[in-house]
């Protein structure tokens, strides 16, 4: 009797647990089927390419015949036998090093302007953002016209302001990169709006309290605005770094526009005067899709990947010291 009760209860428990297990299985199955598209994409367009990039970078591979293992040869040739490589590295570092901090500062200032109480602020916001929806090819072409050294709008204005020998912009090896940087500042509306959203998150009461304590506008900026914006600064900084290391379209178009049309020897990746606008991605593109040197291009890609990764990790690991999360979380 006792045993049979035990048996049935055990059976019931087993039945219940198997039902529960079935339900959990079903729940997992349902969950995974919802995220399945992304999981497949992760495999095909993220994981496989990431691993394959490393592999290809250690081979000679022209797409037509199977890859041949060459070890570190691509990397060695890249840094020793390719003078243009270092040119592209220094161009890109120049561009990133100036456009990222400058862009950060200018978009923060613009955001603070847009955070003022003034009539028509919505219209100003629209105007500041407008350039960033202009297709990059079109936007760059406009700037090529504006920055025409002889009779462009910009140099005409500069001359009327007393600059006797205004820059040659995209036609000068010295001024082509500053020209690209100026162009990037024009289109930085997106990070401006991210900053603006950050500013709107700062509670008004903090400013009121600081005013009562006698802090002036400058003090309020350093004590409240800047610290509370640090998470946004970190976000925009990382996005800015990733984005500007990949600079391609504007440099390609400005380089082509400067050479006055016609596909010259360099074609799409001409690089402007004295290769002064030959960016890392342009050289990579040249190796991959003009010479079909996929191994070499992969070596460049992997190197850039590690540089960006190192910078991101560096920023994140030091962020504890300068990013204030807790204050921003409290609202």
């Amino acid at each position: 009797m006792a045993t049979s009760i035990e048996l049935t209860s055990a059976g019931a428990v087993r039945a219940a647990s198997s039902r529960r297990r079935a339900r959990i299985l079903w729940r997992n199955l349902a969950g995974y089927s919802f995220i399945a598209p992304w999981l497949l994409g992760l495999l095909a367009f993220r994981a496989y390419p990431l691993v394959a990039s490393f592999y290809f970078s250690l081979t000679r591979y022209n797409v037509l015949s199977p890859p041949v293992w060459t070890g570190g040869e691509n990397y060695a040739q890249m840094v020793t036998k390719d003078p243009v490589y270092w040119k592209s590295v220094s161009n890109t570092l120049y561009y990133v090093g100036i456009s990222v901090p400058l862009g950060l500062m200018s978009s923060m200032i613009l955001a603070m302007l847009l955070n003022m109480r003034a009539s028509g602020i919505g219209i100003y916001r629209t105007i500041y953002y407008l350039p960033s929806i202009v297709p990059p090819v079109a936007g760059t072409l406009v700037w090529v016209v504006i920055m025409n050294p002889a009779d462009g709008l910009l140099n005409t204005v500069l001359r009327s302001l007393g600059v006797n020998r205004p820059p040659g912009w995209f036609q000068s090896a010295t001024w082509s990169k500053p020209g690209l940087i100026l162009l990037s500042l024009w289109g930085a509306g997106r990070s401006t709006l991210v900053f603006l959203a950050g500013l709107k998150d700062i509670p008004e009461t903090l400013y009121d309290a600081a005013k009562i304590d006698g802090a002036n506008a400058w003090g309020r900026f350093w004590l409240i605005t800047l610290p509370l914006l640090t998470p946004v600064i970190l976000f925009n900084l990382i996005m800015g770094i990733i984005g500007s290391f990949g600079v391609f379209t504007t440099a390609v178009v400005a380089g082509g526009g400067a050479s006055g049309g016609g596909q010259g020897t360099g074609g799409i990746t001409a690089g402007g005067p004295l290769d002064s606008m030959l960016m890392y991605m342009m050289l990579l593109y040249r190796h991959a899709f003009r010479y079909f040197a996929m191994g070499r291009a992969s070596a460049m890609a992997v190197t850039l990947f590690f540089v960006i990764l190192a910078l991101t990790l560096l920023l994140m690991s030091t962020s504890g010291r300068w990013v204030h999360y807790e204050a921003a979380g409290r609202r």
Partner: protein, 295 residues
Amino acid sequence: MSVRTGSRVSWLSERGTRAFRGRLGTILRQLVLGTVAVSYLIPIVWLVITSLKPLNQVFTRPLKWIPEPIMWRNYLAAMTHEGFDFVRLLGNSVFYATLATLGALISCTLVAYGFARMEFWGRDVWFVVLLATMMLPGVVTLIPTYILFRLLDMVGGYAPLIVPSWFGSAFYIFMLRQFMLTLPWELTESAKVDGASELTIFWRIILPLLTPALMVVVVFYWLSCWNDFMGPLIYIADFEDYPLSVGLYSFMTKYDIEWNLLMAAALVVTLPMAIIFFLAQRQFIEGITLTGIKG
């Protein structure tokens, strides 16, 4: 009596200076905002002006602000220019942007629902992976992806540009998930008790509430496809299959540059985006607030 008048006078003058300072502040603010706005607008204004000039008035000394005569016909000339078959290029761009956006919309919404509203084994781990892929620079996946599509014999057409969109995009999945998390759980609980399936709940209850967030995805994804230059440059083989972005570039490289026509072409390529922007301005601004800040 005299004391009373005195206090009244000082009160009045204080109010006067404050009003004066307030007005000065307003003027100063408008001045700063306006100056910056003008400097941001000038390139666009210059684009319009240059596009309406005869060729010999593009670069002049002194500058010519008003074209003489106004060459409306530049637009027709640009849009029928050899190698810039506008209607065809427009069709290609619309085809690309529409199919890619549609794919991203469907896949991202489903995946985001899974992450936001369902419980399953390993969900949080996968979510961290998703966040990590947002930081993955495109450069490191570029070449193997090309080789993959080459093996699949898809290089030359739009498939390599469209297909990946149908497998979700980390950024928009993240954004939609954050949005879905803000929807109250009570909404779906009673439906669950009634035995509705996840798909029914997704379709009937959640999806209708997502409209503002979905608009953000549509607008931004469309914009990124429309402006995409490197992708089509790599994958699209034939001249007549180019989207507008690459078409505009090849317009520039083919002959001696006719800057007025090129500006007309550039304006025509910009215009659809500008129209979408003005129609969906709120979505743009909200979208950035939604995606940017918590990233």
